[in-house]
């Protein structure tokens, strides 16, 4: 059942076998998987069924370097469904190399192997509604997917890996009925966890303090607690709960909030393809199961090892929208419509600097001159995006000339100095707000620069096309700084380690030293991969549910008592 915590009386104690904090994809999948075990499950979500200003305000925080990282109340949603209420739905599994301790990347390596996560990817694909677990372009679509660049067979890059797209499924609305009808499951909305209460010896969590929308406090007593609050709020709650564990729960070795990673991502260069227009395919193919699939260009593991690179991926992209020189109507139409695009999407799509009147005019001309294709594009957008349940994933526009740019999305090397901490201002409940101090390092910039160069070389060697950088992009670091931390991916802030010296949680996601506290979500990822995180977050949630269902001992079912 789904209820509002606003009806819970101040000072009550709510009991459950397992209490999950956070109703994003991780929390929802955990709750639904665990509800089948017969144990009483309580899911607490700070937001409601729709976003509210009051909930958003709880996400506010400080950023050390505003040009590098967006404010914490953007790219995050306090609502049932969490980030998936606005996500793009790109689903990609991690690669085996992501789990290895790579000598060329400090602090790399997971305490679990690829296969431990891989066996849950099929279930994760189903939860995300991203079709079957098949990420090979030759097998994903009937008769194989179209070639990206016909005749291109690079030695250092794999072009057969793909990304698949979720609807994009908003886990909150998609699974609402199931949350309502699942046996043994109670969802409390408008329930914000404010503090974990550890036992005197610190070995257990005795209770969790929670506040409802009317600021009435109550507590939750459970056999097991799972934090699934996203990669920023999870370290915040651990750091805030410092009354028994000085410095915060799980923070004996000063790891909580450190190693904060997003992805380094952006759009660079221009690729002029030599062949005819039909030698390039940068759009989507449909799998038999109806999901949109798209090829990517990924440096091979051996190349990464030989050159000391982090993991990375490139996608063929239309030219930068903001620059009217592309002369393409649909792209200019998007530029003109930027007021109607949400902050999160406009940020990368549209422009870096406020455009001049002349720029506006040139875009207007483009849209007018190229009006037939603009109209075709808009019609397709309405039909395949706005009206469709499985939405056409992104803007795909065939440039009028065979000129493309490259999207890159690369792993960020783990860096202890990049961190989420507590700021000085307080939220409504008197807890310190977040402070984000995101850093990138040389390795991150080198990965982009070197893999870009290598790709350019192979494209030239095989006479596929010329990949060049604009004058302002030659120093890759300026590109990295221009696009900054990729929003919405919050990784590594409660990392998994083999021992308490290297991790906040163990191989099962349990906080070292605390017997009944687990963490779900990308906070536990020790490294960030080239892949977007959600598919792996969900796979790991399924894995954690399996682990917890073996672990929890039965205690009485949900009941409430007023002190």
């Amino acid at each position: 059942m789904i209820q509002s915590a606003d009806d819970i009386v101040r000072g009550s104690v709510v009991h459950a076998d397992i209490c999950i904090v956070g109703g994003g994809p991780a929390g929802i999948v955990l709750a639904l998987e665990l509800s089948r075990t017969g144990r009483s499950i309580l899911l607490l979500e700070s937001g409601g069924e729709a976003p509210t200003e009051q909930a958003r305000a709880l996400n506010i925080g400080e950023v050390a370097e505003g040009s590098l990282h967006s404010p914490p109340d953007t790219y995050r949603q306090r609502v049932l469904g969490g980030g998936t209420s606005i996500w793009g739905g790109r689903c990609v599994p991690f690669d085996p190399i992501d789990f290895e301790a790579r000598p060329w990347i400090d602090h790399s390596g997971w305490p679990i192997g690829y296969d431990e996560v891989e066996r849950h990817y099929a279930a994760a694909n189903a939860w995300c509604e991203a079709g079957e677990y098949e990420y090979d372009a030759r097998l994903a679509a009937p008769n194989g997917m179209r070639a990206l660049l016909r005749g291109f067979s690079p030695r250092h890059f794999d072009t057969n890996g793909i990304e698949r797209f979720s609807c994009p499924t908003d886990f909150g609305s998609r699974y609402r009925n199931r949350l309502r009808s699942a046996p043994n499951l109670r969802v409390l909305l408008s329930a914000t966890a404010t503090r974990l209460r550890a036992a005197r010896d610190g070995s257990r969590i005795d209770a969790l303090d929670v506040c409802n929308g009317r600021d009435a406090a109550f507590s939750v007593v459970a056999g097991q607690f799972v934090l699934a609050m996203g990669g920023m709020e999870t370290p915040r709650l651990l750091l805030t709960s410092d009354d028994v564990h000085a410095g915060g729960i799980g923070n004996a070795n000063d790891l909580v909030g450190r190693f904060y990673m997003c992805h380094v991502a952006g759009t660079i260069g221009s690729l002029r393809v030599n062949g005819a227009a039909d030698t390039v395919w940068h759009g989507y193919d449909l799998a038999a199961d109806g999901t949109y699939c798209r090829r990517r260009i990924a440096p091979r593991p051996a190349t990464q090892a030989a050159m000391g690179l982090s993991n990375a991926v490139f996608r063929l992209h239309h030219p930068r929208i903001a620059d009217p020189a592309h002369g393409t109507g649909p792209l200019s139409a998007i530029f003109l419509a930027q007021r109607f695009i949400s902050y999160e999407y406009a940020k990368r799509l549209v422009s870096d600097a406020p455009p001049s009147a002349k720029t506006w005019l040139r875009h207007g001309m483009n849209a007018a001159i190229d009006s037939p294709s603009t109209a075709r594009f808009l019609l397709h957008w309405v039909k395949a995006r706005i009206l469709a349940d499985r939405k056409f994933p992104s803007i795909i526009v065939r440039p009028r000339t065979n000129l493309f740019s490259l999207d890159f999305h690369t792993e960020q090397a783990p860096n202890p100095d990049s961190r989420i901490g507590l700021g000085s201002s307080l939220d409504r409940f008197g807890n310190r707000q977040l402070r984000v101090d995101w850093r990138y390092c040389r390795q991150d910039v080198d990965t982009v620069a070197q893999s870009f160069d290598l790709l350019g070389q192979e494209l030239a060697d095989q006479a596929i096309g010329q990949l060049t950088l604009a004058a302002g992009e030659r120093d890759i670091e300026t590109v990295v700084r221009r696009d900054g931390a990729y929003g919405g991916h919050h990784i590594g802030t409660a990392r998994m380690g083999a021992t308490a010296r290297s991790g906040v949680v163990d191989r099962n996601g349990k906080v070292f030293g605390v017997n009944n506290l687990h963490i779900a979500g990308s906070a536990v990822f020790p490294t960030s991969s080239q892949a977007n995180p959600t598919l792996t977050i969900v796979a790991m949630a399924v894995r954690l549910a399996e682990h917890l269902s073996e672990r929890v001992t039965r205690v009485p079912s949900i009941r409430e008592s007023v002190n």
């Binding site: 509604e129 009937p142 609807c167 609305s173 998609r174 699974y175 609402r176 009925n177 199931r178 009808s181 046996p183 449909l286 799998a287 038999a288 199961d289 109806g290 009206l387 469709a388 349940d389 499985r390």
Partner: protein, 322 residues
Amino acid sequence: MPDSIDYSRKPVLILGASGFIGSRVAAALERSPIYRPVAASRRSAISVDATDMQSVLRALRDVDCVVNCVAGKDDAMVRAAQVLCDAARSTPPRRIVHLSSMAVYGAATGSVTEDHGPVEPVSLYGRAKIACEGIVGRYVRDGGDAVILRPSCVFGPGSTQWTTRLIRLLRAGRLGDLGAGGDGGCNLAFIDDVVGAIVAALDAPDVSGRTFNISSSADLTWNQFLMAFSKALGATPIRRIPGRTLRIETRILAPFRRVAAKAVKAGWTEAITPSLAALFRQDIRIDSGAAQSALWLHRTPPEQMIAAVLRDNRTKQELAAV
């Protein structure tokens, strides 16, 4: 056709023998060394009008058991059950195996065993099936021997309702991935499994007076099944059907299609009725554990059910049609 009738085999009267399930039961008994089918319907060689007392009395005279597969209009079904039980009171067969349906549970959710009561709304068909069960129940209380079977959606070659209809709707892209509209439990009873349970019920010990759920699939959602079936049929790429489209189908188009269906049987006259859409959402799991132990119910896995349908000539013809 057997050359001669083997009178050492026990004669089993099948009421509704020309129907989908009845005909399959007759065929199974034909092959049986123990039983001999006496296939009765209004149209068959042994003509029995199941709603006519004299006709049923005559039919009961020389048989060992009765299988009641009478389908059709709701009131005719109830009438046939009444006539059968009344006739059986004067000429009792050794046992009646009566076919009911999971429709008796109405809108029940969760794991459903035989003792689960009906949950409103119950369809008219479900009400009729409940009435029939009541009649059979009274017959048992009066000392008769009867077993009630409640199959879930009977799937398999020849099933118009759960096979041909679905094939048509999937190929037309009107069903597919239903999102939240298809999260309901897909409880399919494979025809061979149903027939096996019926035959087993004729002589199984300690089942007299009992009721059994008959279902083959477990823990399958309609989305999972419809997508697997679509893929097997080559009805790809599978379409995601928005909730809005389903609502237009059930609320606006269904009545028209049903009227048209009286004149033409075709893909476009297959209606997605509100009750069908509700079933796709209904989170119900039919528990057939009792039948597995008492009637040795075999549960064919979904992939094998689908494969059997694809091998069938009627499916091939359906797929060949545009």
